[in-house]
Symmetry: C2
Subunit: 373 residues, 2 copies
């Protein structure tokens, strides 16, 4: 077991994410030297603040063994698999002063999906736990179609929208990533154990927390920034006024990533958060998979996704011709002067327009006058 | 019967609206002189184009009598009741080259509402004829609440959303205006005869077409610009991809008026038009009456309309305090050093934060350690 990997495992446990100051130290000195300084407490005040409580917790080797036994690998910035490009936005945001945006020091990954490969075309689909059947149906449909088009579906494995999104992607035999707020070896919620095992078989279960870490409320918020960062764009399917999904959306927006929200009935509290996001300009409105593909930059997959409205026979006619056509009866023939008065178009114009309408099949000459068709 | 009124009645019938060139002539010469020139055909080519077909139709006196018999008055720009301010946007748009925006030459009005008084606080509520029950319910609710707050509800008396809007306003004993694409003496659709009579009793039925004019397809589009112009803002409740309500919304936007659209289920074709309007930026999203009041400039009626989200006990706590609070168990007391490792906050900070949490009732000291509350 190499010392870089051991150092990363140690650092992954020593600080509660997001650990911005420690991250900067590690970037400057490398994980091995940084870990040594942290152990000895020879670090700047800000790093001490993030590390002193657990500096003495030396379980890196045990963590790596325990992870391996559970089919979990440690993916670090030193590995080719590290999703460097998606996570760059976190470092940039941290450097702009957003403390919450500090990138993870390492990721614990359970599943065959290679993080450097599957995130280039990806969308986070997130939403309320207390979702409605409308929301769950929509999330599952979107995820199914996206996954079927090769887009990786990222979510948080929660009840409601998250679970529906994972299931939809799995149903399409697609790739889906579950990003957890606890160790990747812990099934949370417990009722999603089978779902998480399925995700780990077909995609990946991901966490920045070492094995055995239990979920805690603030870890969900920290986890949300990781979902927002990993995916190209974030789609909120349903969200109450105060919901974790809105936090994910706000994180994605702050990271400069596209945010979409799915509208719903105005009477549904579960759509309020989505409507607020759209109204405030944080999210653009999404009603279909093409909307999402457009936003996550996977255009070209679809020609022009939205069905054009069907043409009408009078499309392209000049206004006076439309007026005249409307004045024509289908049953009672009328002479040109009657038609002119009825529609207010000058008589000579009516005389010229009637044969034109006849030519395109919109008028018919009879012995008693003109009919519309 | 004065000659100005007779001239306006004549001009109202002589040209099929929108009659931009005739309108400019009348503005310059006044209705009496303009009517004389139109009769004799001594007008510029563009005016001739709008008037030659019906220049010889001399039924002004009969129209005014017929109108009076049906309880309809002619309101002209010479009258105090003329809604000069709302209609100004049409003349401005016409002068910018928008042919369709020509203002009406006169309005035929049936009902007690005084147009110069009731439009200052008004909203058009329009939408699909083939509305869903969700759409009709929403339109009726919004109209009821708006009318109850003294906002005049303007619509087009069609089946579906329009009818629901009028009914909602009537139910609140409010003022509602029905703007028709046919004479104000004609009930269209016929099934709305009772509704239109009710509107005429409590608000007004309005048309720029003289009595007896039958509806025609293009007159609905022309009528839509009038709805858009008369109301301060326009709310589209439901609209298919290709719907008259979208035309009203586009007119309102072109006239510089606020446009709002109500979202709905993404699976509902009747909400597609609304979603398109929001996505394209033509409309802002509206989910509630306060959204509409805000847009139509009737703020001040409502303090802060939207319910604030309920506060949480941990609101306002520093991040480390939140982390510590999350780490506290409600059943198993823990000493500060355990808590420090659990939440990753330095021990001395934990020792300082625990009494602070106790002070605000979020932690409790026991003999075996600390509990969360």
């Amino acid at each position: 077991m190499d010392e870089v990997r051991l150092a990363r495992a140690y650092l992954s446990r020593v600080a509660e994410p997001p650990a911005g100051a420690l991250g900067v130290l590690v970037e400057h000195l490398g994980p091995v030297e940084a870990a040594g300084l942290v152990r000895r407490g020879e670090v700047p005040r800000a790093v001490l603040d993030e590390t002193s409580a657990r500096a003495g917790v030396e379980v890196a080797a045990a963590d790596l063994e325990r992870a391996a036994a559970a089919g979990i690998r440690l993916v670090t910035p030193e590995d080719e698999e590290w999703p460097a490009w998606p996570l760059l936005c976190l470092a940039n945001a941290r450097d702009r002063g957003l403390r919450w945006a500090a990138p993870p020091l390492a990721l614990w990954v359970r599943g065959p999906a290679q993080l450097d490969e599957v995130l280039g075309r990806s969308a986070a689909i997130v939403g309320a736990r207390a979702a409605t059947s409308y929301g769950e149906h929509t999330a599952a449909e979107f995820a199914y179609e996206l996954a079927g088009r090769g887009v990786t579906v990222v979510s948080g494995a929660a009840f409601g929208i998250d679970g529906a999104a994972h299931r939809g992607a799995l149903g399409a035999q697609g790739t889906t990533l579950a990003v957890l707020a606890c160790g990747a070896d812990i099934s949370y919620p417990a009722a999603h154990t089978t779902l998480l095992n399925h995700v780990a078989k077909q995609g990946a279960v991901i966490s920045e927390y070492p094995p055995g870490t239990t979920p805690a409320k603030y870890r969900f918020l920290v986890r949300n920034r990781l979902i927002a960062a990993l995916a190209v764009g974030t789609v909120v399917v349903e969200a109450g006024r105060r919901s974790g999904a809105r936090n994910t959306a706000a994180s994605a927006a702050a990271l400069g990533k596209p945010v979409l929200a799915v509208p719903g009935p105005v009477s549904s509290p579960m759509s309020q958060g989505c409507h607020d996001l759209i109204r405030s300009g944080t999210a653009t409105l999404a009603t279909s998979v093409p909307d999402i593909l457009e936003a996550v930059g996977a255009i070209g997959d679809v020609a022009d996704p939205r069905a054009p409205s069907p043409p009408r026979p009078t499309d392209g006619l000049a206004p006076q011709a439309v007026q005249l056509h409307d004045a024509l009866s289908r049953s009672s023939p009328a002479p040109p002067d009657h038609l002119a008065r009825a529609c207010g178009v000058p008589l000579e114009r009516v005389r010229a327009l009637l044969p034109e309408l006849e030519l395109v099949g919109l008028a018919r000459r009879t012995e008693e006058g003109w009919l519309g068709t």
